[in-house]
Symmetry: C2
């Protein structure tokens, strides 16, 4: 049972590091979000449109997690925001230690929202707290409404659920009511957003929520609310 003991040690160590990260984020009034989804669910496009939509209002920094390469990091850096790429070289998730190293590159007092884009995967990232305020789980409608029931851990841990690419609803079979119901069955709290980053539909509500969460967190930690 050495395997299990080692896994437990890894998870314990990760939890401690995540708590350290969380304290740093709270101290600097940063809302940290951990974006988790299947490959190709549209995490990067959602981030692009969110960052552009809140430009001049909120300062973003992004940590990009990928197996290899820096495609998404370059897309986001083009928006003129600080981005750090982490390559896991085969690893299927980020951990709190990687995130800790990565955020050393940011000017924390100038950051409102730190968005961490995890490796495209609905399984492994579920077990690794990065110190985020919320996990945002993104499910694109072409993937099918059965995903919350098939990957319950990650949906139960979500602080927000986004159904993305809803501009494709007419082209695919996706039962929105059933998807909502299945999320609700395992997660009573998380708001569920239906949006299309491509067309802009539903983006306003999502961005308003981000601002309200940032303010809530700052109020709670007695740092300066955003406004």
């Amino acid at each position: 049972m050495t395997e299990i003991k080692i896994l437990k040690n890894i998870l314990d160590q990760n939890r401690h590091r995540a708590e350290d990260n969380r304290q740093v984020f709270n101290k600097h009034g940063i809302l940290a979000l951990n974006f988790i989804a299947s490959p190709g669910a549209g995490k990067t496009t959602l981030l692009e449109k969110t960052i552009s939509g809140l430009k001049g209002k909120l300062e973003f920094a992004v940590i990009e997690g990928d197996i290899t390469g820096d495609y998404d990091a370059r897309r986001l850096a083009a928006l003129g925001i600080p981005v750090v790429q982490i390559n896991t070289e085969g690893g299927c998730h980020l951990d709190a230690g990687m995130v800790h190293k990565a955020f050393q590159d940011f000017v924390l007092d100038r950051t409102d929202i730190l968005a961490v884009e995890n490796v495209g995967n609905l399984v492994c990232p579920a077990e690794f707290d990065l110190g985020e305020a919320f996990k945002v789980v993104v499910l694109s409608v072409p993937e099918g409404e059965d995903k919350p029931a098939k990957y319950p851990l990650i949906f139960s841990e979500a602080g927000a659920v986004v159904f993305s690419k809803i501009d494709l609803l007419k082209a695919v079979n996706f039962d929105l009511a059933k998807a909502r119901e299945d999320v609700r069955r395992i997660n009573r709290e998380a708001p569920i957003f239906e949006l299309s980053a491509a067309t802009g539909q539903g983006m306003g509500e999502w961005m308003d929520w981000l601002v309200s969460k940032l303010n809530e967190q700052r109020k709670f930690n007695s740092t300066q609310p955003f406004s």
Copy 2:
């Protein structure tokens, strides 16, 4: 470095078990395929339509890998074929030992194609040989053409690549030429199929390929060719 040593032991042990499985499959003239894809890429629908399309011609058996639940297994069992469900309870891939246990339930001499549907994941399943003749990697066009470049290991190991849901090509941005080029850069051999299980487009070529591969394998192993 205990972690690394243990991972090496796990992979070595898996390789031995996979070789055992492969010998069993060859002895019984079974073409074993390991289907790998992101969640929601359409593996189950592809299997449904392939099995229906070859009904009366080839006998299928299916091993379904999922974190939890038996949604897909029930869909496939409805076709009147033998299906065994494996639940990994959080594990992000199948391994050769799980597959070995699962195929004990099948009448091997009555099986032509054993389709293993791995856990929805483009990362972890890449490292675990199950004893299959080929890995079939399925990429749905809504996921975007950047996936072969972002998940190179799995695409380099593929014995066949399927671009699925091509009926959605008009509704999404997917550069077929670039996707093909990126696959070719890391994998010179694997045939690339473009198909839609929903509309039937491209299914004929895919099913012909399966039949030809089954015959090739039986010829090579001097078991009875299919026809």
